[in-house]
Symmetry: C2
Subunit: 472 residues, 2 copies
């Protein structure tokens, strides 16, 4: 290693911990969606918090930017280097130890590189639930989940990554370690630094470990696939089910006919859970943590009432874990099916739950009028007001022509989202891909405050420069 910075990094993490050959660094330099090809000066793989601290100091001295990276499954281009070849990727993948699981206090302390699915398994091994759950859980890491405040399929009941985090360990821009790995449920000693770093997409510090909340595992679980006429019916159904079953409604996913149709077309072995096709479906999950209380009966009664009210048209209740898994399989394969279907333009938006039907009506009407034949592959976490409002190229249409309209289509969708008081990034973050729209739609006062915070905590602009906020 003739590059003095890389030599000093190798002195910290060992030669095997520094990748420089482009064949080795390429997987770290490519974002999940392949939208922002990049090139890393090097990839450094620390094995401990002390390593991270020393790497940060060395890069700071050399004034070389650091791009922290976990499982590299982010959808906004926030964890890969730009094309300059200047940026060092700091991969947390080797820091994959679960330090402690405490089933008495219901906490787990784990390093940033632990894969989400492994964290779930470690909790389950102690008869506890770590509820964060998302499609990429087999490769996404806890550090990335926290850095992006990941959402997913259990937010309705348990909240996003932020709500599950009790404490964090962070390496700051000057290399110091902020050790706030607290398992405390209540602590009002000063500002809430934890929630500032969580969701800051690696721009304020490098999260190296976290203390996470665990929960009792549901003793009884019911999964239902529900056919409906309209998205408005889905919102009404959610309200009825919560009135009847309270917080036992743990997931509530809306799926348009187009989204299901693409899955049935492209994913082998799938079939429509209902006998007839309905315009909309909801995949709902119910859980109860207490001693057997006939949850299934209560769900059946609540859904029968909704059929009576004309909200629900048909229902399939899973009668085994395998059947429940098959229903989730349909939901989880929508993104893959959409990729196979052809070019797509995606939005990760949220509005107040009650405004979901209006958003679908208004945006859909304008899009279908202005872009005839475009296919609306709408699905998402309707219980959280969060839709993945995705479009597929018209059947037989030209992909290039379709994608050339991406900025216009974003503008149409985001204008409706803004008019309904919504967010242009509900769970995927800003990264690089959404920065222009973020700056267009976010309150400039909020952006100014964020810039002040960034300058205060990372005056040199060392961490993920140009992500979320533009460079100074």
């Amino acid at each position: 290693l003739t590059d003095p910075l890389l030599a000093s990094l190798a002195a910290i993490v060992g030669d095997a911990g520094v990748l420089v050959d482009e064949r080795d660094t390429a997987p770290y330099a490519r974002d999940w969606r392949g939208r922002l090809p990049g090139r890393a000066r090097a990839v450094v793989r620390p094995a401990s918090t002390r390593h991270v601290s020393e790497v940060v100091r060395a890069c700071g001295r050399a004034n070389v930017p650091i791009v922290p990276q976990g499982g590299n499954t982010g959808l906004a281009g926030g964890s890969t280097p730009d094309a300059s070849g200047r940026e060092v990727v700091l991969s947390l993948a080797r820091m994959n130890r679960i330090r402690t699981v405490d089933p008495v206090d219901n906490t787990m302390t784990a390093e940033a590189g632990v894969i989400l699915a492994h964290a779930q398994e470690a909790a389950a091994a102690h008869d506890r639930l770590f509820p964060l759950s998302l499609a990429a859980e087999g490769s996404a890491t806890l550090g990335g989940n926290l850095a992006t405040n990941a959402g997913g399929e259990q937010v309705l009941r348990y909240g996003s990554a932020r709500a599950l985090t009790l404490g964090i360990e962070v390496v700051l821009a000057d290399g110091r370690v902020l050790d706030a790995l607290s398992p405390l449920r209540k602590d009002n000693t000063g500002y809430d630094l934890r929630d500032l770093f969580v969701g800051s997409e690696g721009t304020l510090g490098v999260i190296t470990a976290a203390t996470l909340q665990l929960f009792p595992r549901p003793r009884e679980q019911v999964t239902a696939w529900i056919g409906l006429d309209s998205a408005a019916g889905a919102v009404r159904l959610l309200s009825e089910l919560r009135a009847a079953l309270g917080e036992r409604v743990s997931a509530f996913e809306l799926i348009s006919r187009e989204a299901l149709a693409q899955v049935l077309r492209h994913v082998e072995g799938t079939r429509d859970p209902l006998a007839r096709p309905w315009p909309w479906a909801v995949l709902a999950e119910f859980g109860d943590t207490s001693a057997p209380a006939d949850l299934r009966g209560a769900v059946e009664r609540a859904l029968a009432d909704a059929i009576e009210l004309g909200i629900v048209r048909d229902v399939a209740l899973a009668s085994s874990e395998a059947q429940a898994a098959a229903l989730w399989h349909l939901r989880d394969h929508i993104p893959e099916a959409q990729t196979r279907e052809g070019a797509s333009i995606k939005h990760d938006i949220s509005v107040p739950v009650s405004r979901i039907p209006e958003l679908i009506d208004r945006a859909g009407e304008e899009l279908l009028r202005r872009f005839p034949g475009v296919r609306l592959c709408t699905f998402g976490h309707v219980g959280d007001g969060n839709l993945h409002y995705n479009l597929s190229v018209p059947a037989g249409g030209d992909a290039g022509a379709f994608l050339a309209q991406e900025d216009t289509i974003h503008a149409v969708v985001y204008a409706h989202v803004q008019a309904l008081g919504g967010s242009i990034s509900a769970e995927h973050g800003i990264g690089r891909l959404k920065q222009a729209d973020f700056l267009r739609f976010k309150d400039p006062v909020a952006v100014d405050v964020m810039r002040a915070v960034k300058r205060a905590l990372d005056p040199q602009g060392l961490f993920n420069p140009g992500r979320v906020l533009p460079r100074d």
Copy 2:
């Protein structure tokens, strides 16, 4: 008004909105516990966010510090002026409008000066629950609740003020308004500014309004007074009850014999709910939001199991709302009874729930050994790991001599708290009263980061200077 600053404030809020006579300002200058007598240069009472913004600009131009104040029920001296006579108190009391209640999206938007009890009532009028609940709710305001991240009696199930807040409106140090009054459940556009201002005790900005989460009202509620031999038994009972009843355990308050005895002595019309005196009691509340499911039967079975296991010695279940209120009356009058009992030294500490018995044993042993006769009036939210670990003067002892030992006694308690990984301020904040201990026990790296944030958002040191963090 000859003082040009006060004249300019009166021009903004009207003459009636500026109090200068010491007879008028005195109630605003005295902290709840009467520990830090202060004097205000004036009290300004804005009626709108625009007023607040202009007041902040005027004070900024004159370089006069602002002390934001809600109901002035804080226990750490964070909302009253110092003795200099230089500081202007900014009272939010006139900003007491509930702007909207939305029972469909389960949100409420209310101004900072709304009294907590009024917010609860407004939610109830729409058949919804706003769960924040604490002894001072009849005079504490939402702005103060958020500024201090208030806790209280429903944290176990619903979280502290922060967890109940979806969006905020804040006047910044330069007078600009950060309008983040969002009802969204998910929004990952940039840093989490909301949680930075919540809990910052008026040192980073003035919260003028908030969008809060509402919940379905419990359909069934059970309240139990439970006699136990030990605090360890209480922690074990909590674990058993949660295994049996899940999130239906909504409050779990520990009460020592001494605390109950003081209430029975000093609060008229009270009686021990149990036939025999037990060393410890738990006041537990259970709620279920779903259709009738025999919660009472389930609670009875779970408590019978705990009696069988030898954890619980006796139980009184409230059989009416009036009986439940009488049980809470005992709990809520502990602080008042302690005041009547004589001099007291208080701690608002938290440790991991599992370490509560150790804390009680270790701190109690050392205190009783070093300060013979001291009475341990322990109570608190044990489900959150949060104890009000309070001491009363020995019976017949000298108050002055007792209080002279306050610093030593704090040091003893906080050393045990720190050894168990706890916090010296679980829910009351730092203000001025706890600053020295905060600086002694908090990670200096965390304090440095907080100072950087303070400098970035309030470079002039306009808001509540010297509170939480020392002056620069």
